[in-house]
Symmetry: C2
Subunit: 268 residues, 2 copies
């Protein structure tokens, strides 16, 4: 298998450059080693990066890919003396976008991910809200939630809620559906007035069985039979209440979040 | 102020395209409205997107910016019939990278953020670990942590830990430094054997005072005097133990995470 090293070199966090690393998934035929070099804001650090690039090329037997975001033009030009395949966020995006907008871009380091950024405070407030409203921990403040995820225990509510909050600044509570609800045959009373912002998650019984078994191996709770019953009953409850749901079995939190935002018409 | 709408149009989650939205922070002179259109995987949806683009251009008085990631070439070409400024991740990145690697890229929808992606399971495992080791909740399993964040209450440990886990798959526990520790004059005993993976957070007293006052207004806990004392003592404890720390006062979780990964030499 082809080997290549990918460097993310930035004068800031390197997180925007790093996000493009996801595009490497389009090339499953190459074995990528990813190296992050954030805060590369001096000529000295750039020189070290260049040495690393040279070494990686030798080890891999192919020139590295460098995804770079350097505001300082001197550093940018210095780095490009290396033998590598460059994807330069300034050249490719920021400068051309500046022409389109007829506006000079800011070139300081760390602009994309500073606390001054758009929505930063909203995002942190949402993370706090979500962690304080995880797993039906409290019924107070649900009015403030923008989304309430429901579903059986261990179907993916928590990581999805955290992702919605961290990434998009959405205050996402989550509430488990538990045996009491199944016996009563209806959603928890506290949720009735929030139906418009509830979104359901479900999961395949076999997968739930496997996930629960990791924690409580051999328990009734984790048994395939119980998982099947819980899921069927939960889906019936959701159907009766007119709640939209998605299956988390083979979806990432990124995919689930995108679906939830679309279906609940959250625009951020 | 100049107004422009930015569309993120993808056949998948649109999260990679959306990440480039952070680059808009380089143009504070423009008031951007951001619209996400994930799962745009049919000609019909593309046509709806085109109508939205047309409307936005009229409202803004300037053509929209479209950041697009569409694997299907027919959909890609259809969308480009609109009058907009296009940033096409396939044209700009994926196809040229394919030439560099001498490899055809996968063009299916949702490849960048599927559960099949690199490290997805590690990331979810790290999120679980981090939520179960938040705020010194338990001492068991700290051996498994890759990073342990310490610092006074409300200095930013929790959101930073969650970000490290969700974004990079780092198992990040966090442990508060509390009055007991300050009286004893040393770090909690349980941390002594983990010094090599501890990283400290500190914060300016005025900021801590403001943050704590939001929750417990007028309390001794939130008083500026107490905040000052806690911070000084915590910094002394960390200094004595040889622990590196960073000030969270004006840093985002993205910036703190990048610093922590660099200083603790975590490579992901």
């Amino acid at each position: 298998m082809l080997k290549r090293t990918v460097f993310f070199i930035s004068d800031g966090t390197g997180i925007t450059a790093g996000a493009l690393g996801k595009l490497l998934e389009h090339f499953p035929g190459t074995n990528f080693t990813q190296v992050r070099l954030p805060f590369s804001d001096t000529l000295d650090k750039i020189k070290h990066a260049q040495e690393d690039i040279l070494k990686a090329a030798e080890v891999d037997g192919g020139r590295p890919v460098v995804i770079m975001s350097l505001g300082n033009i001197e550093l940018r030009n210095a780095l490009k003396q290396s033998n590598a395949y460059f994807i330069d966020l300034f050249n490719t995006f920021i400068d051309p976008l500046g022409l389109e907008l007829d506006q000079q871009p800011l070139t300081g380091a760390g602009i994309a991910h500073s606390v001054m950024g758009t929505k930063y405070n909203d995002r942190m407030e949402a993370v706090n809200f979500t962690l304080n409203h995880d797993d039906g921990m409290t019924n107070s403040g649900l009015e403030e939630a923008q989304v309430i995820l429901i579903g059986v225990s261990r179907c993916g509510k928590t990581p999805t809620s955290v992702y919605l909050a961290m990434q998009f600044g959405i205050k996402a509570a989550n509430y488990p559906l538990i045996p009491e609800d199944f016996e009563r045959g209806s959603l928890p009373a506290v949720l009735h007035k929030h139906l418009d912002k509830i979104f359901g998650l479900t999961i395949k019984p076999e997968r739930l069985h496997a996930v629960r078994n990791e924690r409580r191996s051999g328990s009734f709770y984790a048994s395939l039979d119980n998982c099947r019953k819980e899921i069927t009953t939960a889906e019936n409850l959701m159907r009766d209440a007119g709640i939209t749901w998605a299956d988390s079995t083979s979806r990432s939190v990124e995919e689930l979040s995108a679906i939830i935002m679309e279906k609940t018409r959250k625009h951020v």
